[in-house]
């Protein structure tokens, strides 16, 4: 055998088995990651009180500080404030640590009044962490599974290029009228090849972002294993301990924010705003105010500014800028974090993510059909099909059900109860999709695609009924986050209907073929019968 053929064969083997082993996880990661591109927009859809119009200037002195005074915050607790922005219209303040924590409050920057927020984790609290941790927090196992899948993805991309025989010739070839196997492979090749830079950049940067998890030993080696020494060097963090002597709580932080923003803006030459504020050792003589800036608006690279003020004297204690070696990573990480503002970039990245999800799904489908053709016993077919259907259409359907639950559950469920109920709906629907697929076998795809279509057409209606923001209303008010979410959901509904009709057509064609086959067989048998 020729050496190139031998190599291609071994690459094929690697591509096949690595793909099957991890495509379920990879699809979940790409699907949830794609949803996370618009997580704050989806949050606005899921939390009607967080819908714009966005006001970006707000006084913390008039909102957060009075609330802190009323809330019995102690010096041992940490206070953080997430500043409002176009994408996140509400001002959020949280307190953790201590006996009465965690506390959370939300303010509408337009009025300065506290608002009761819908009990939900939203997209940023559920879909987003799903894409890097799978919500498996035990021993950080979820992170490790995702990291392994990301490594596998890089291997899959490279081996995929080697086993593709006609890269140039087939580059623009999608042949939907040919056999389903051919058109599936065409889709797999197109979605894989055209977005190749994306398919390499995202797993790679995903791994580097969690370097401290995946390469803990290597990252901490220069710091003799001390995490705090590492984070001080890399991010400027240091521990602020209370003196234990009570003092008047901090009276004003607005001036600190203004000064810090002016420093960053003049230093980087692009508008920089504080997005995260911390108050440490509240009501103590050693109280500090930490102003952070991590989300640049008009650049890809992540910036990391941290300026620390002494709460009592107002003196600047630290003005942290990362070392140049940290900056080398900041474009790569910034591309993955996507904290920047331009929406056309965001849409393109969303498209890239969906290409990844489509590539993984079609790869799995292609393998499955190839196995069934080669002859697989019916029980195995059922199991393999149930796993594939559940991890693809089941995952999509469960995400849709999560949104429906958000609009349907009563608002008066206390605490985090409502948020956890939404999560329960997600996992129940997901689990059911596997069971349903095992029972319905061949019809499972079509059934579930129809369910997805139903969910997609129902969601904008529920949004309309529960908030009054029908598409025409949200568009005319310039509520693009809400209108965009509705439109994307509707578009996926349209796509689901198209897919369902296409699946039905394929079934019909295959049924017709299956009917013809025995006839042809019997003719052949007849011909081979020796004449007497």
């Amino acid at each position: 055998m020729h050496i190139a053929d031998e190599f291609r064969k071994s690459m094929n083997w690697l591509h096949t088995w690595l793909g099957i082993a991890l495509s379920g996880v990879l699809f979940a990661v790409f699907w949830m990651g794609s949803l996370s591109v618009f997580m704050y927009e989806t949050d606005q859809w899921m939390m009607p009180e967080a819908r714009g119009p966005a006001v970006e200037t707000v006084s913390l002195d008039e909102t957060v500080l009075p609330w802190l005074e009323q809330s019995d915050v102690s010096a041992e607790q940490s206070v953080f404030v997430v500043m409002p922005s176009v994408r996140k219209p509400l001002l959020r303040v949280g307190v953790f640590g201590g006996d009465n924590g965690p506390l959370n409050a939300y303010f509408d920057p337009a009025t300065g009044k506290q608002v009761e927020r819908t009990g939900t984790f939203g997209s940023s609290g559920f879909f987003y962490p799903f894409h890097y941790s799978l919500h498996i927090n035990w021993q950080g196992l979820g992170y490790w599974i995702v990291g392994l899948a990301a490594m596998a993805m890089l291997t899959l991309v490279v081996s995929g290029i080697f086993i593709h025989r006609k890269i140039v010739q087939d580059f623009f070839s999608f042949r939907p009228t040919k056999a389903l196997r051919r058109s599936t492979l065409d889709l797999h090749n197109i979605t894989g090849l055209v977005a190749l830079p994306f398919h390499i950049l995202f797993p790679l940067t995903g791994i580097t972002i969690f370097a401290l998890v995946y390469f803990e030993g290597a990252a901490l080696k220069p710091f003799k294993g001390e995490v705090f020494d590492y984070t001080r060097e890399a991010n400027g963090y240091y521990v602020i301990e209370p003196d234990g002597v009570a003092a008047d709580p901090v009276q004003s932080v607005d001036g600190f924010i203004e000064e810090a923003e002016a420093i960053w803006t003049s230093r980087s030459g692009t508008p920089a705003s504080a997005d995260y504020i911390r108050i440490e050792a509240y009501g103590d003589t050693n109280s500090k105010v930490v102003i952070q800036h991590s989300g640049p608006r008009l650049q890809v690279a992540r910036s990391q500014g941290r300026i620390v003020y002494d709460a009592a004297s107002g003196e600047m204690e630290q003005d942290f800028q990362p070392a140049p070696i940290r900056n080398a990573l900041s474009w790569l990480e910034g591309a993955h974090y996507m904290m920047f503002r331009p929406y056309h970039v965001r849409w393109l990245l969303f498209f890239g993510g969906l290409m990844g999800a489509a590539m993984i799904a079609t790869g799995l489908l292609f393998w499955m059909r190839a196995r069934i053709r080669k002859g697989l016993e019916p029980t195995s077919v059922r199991v393999v099909r149930a796993l594939s259907v559940g991890s693809i259409t089941g995952m999509i359907g469960a995400s849709g059900a999560f949104l429906l639950a958000n609009r349907l559950l009563p608002l008066d469920i206390d605490g985090d109860g409502r948020a956890y109920l939404e999560v329960l709906v997600f996992y129940s629907v997901w689990l059911l999709s596997f069971v349903h697929a095992a029972i319905r076998n061949k019809q499972a795809w079509r059934d579930q695609v129809w369910v997805i279509a139903g969910i997609a057409f129902l969601a904008p209606v529920l949004n309309w009924v529960s908030t009054g923001d029908f598409l025409t209303v949200s568009i005319s008010q310039g509520q693009w986050a809400v209108a965009g979410t509705d439109l994307v959901i509707l578009a996926s509904g349209g796509l689901a209907v198209f897919a369902a009709l296409r699946l039905k057509q394929t079934e019909r064609v295959e049924a017709a073929k299956a009917q013809r086959r025995p006839v042809a067989g019997s003719l052949a048998d007849a011909a081979s019968v020796p004449a007497e």
Binding site: V168, F171, T191, V194, A195, P342
Partner: protein
């Protein structure tokens, strides 16, 4: 206004670039035009030039840092669009193929 126009222009040049590259391949050309004809030879260089123009426009409009994200994904989008149009909506592609035939008179077959 000029910003939107430039983005549209980058999209159009990238799309036309992909379309010309596809037309320069015999398989797609034959599927669109009569059998036996050959596509004009200028299509392949024209495709690459248009794609290079789209890179230039993107970098001028958004800078290199954003450009490095935008351009590859813009090409991905237009390449998928090209493949989908070749499969489902051939008419504009046929128009483009005819136009490129009449642009290069020497390749017209009787």
């Amino acid at each position: 206004m000029i910003h939107t126009a430039l983005l549209l222009f980058a999209f159009l040049t990238a799309f036309l670039g992909c379309a010309f590259l596809a037309l320069s391949q015999d398989r797609h050309w034959r599927a669109l035009m009569e059998r036996g004809t050959l596509g004009p030879a200028f299509q392949r260089p024209a495709g690459w030039i248009l794609i290079a123009v789209s890179l230039l426009v993107v970098v001028l409009r958004d800078g290199g840092s954003f450009g490095a994200l935008i351009w590859p994904l813009l090409l991905a989008l237009t390449a998928v669009l090209t493949a989908l149009m070749l499969a489902y909506w051939k008419k504009p592609m046929v128009v483009l193929a005819r136009a490129s035939l009449s642009l290069s008179s020497r390749n017209i077959t009787p």
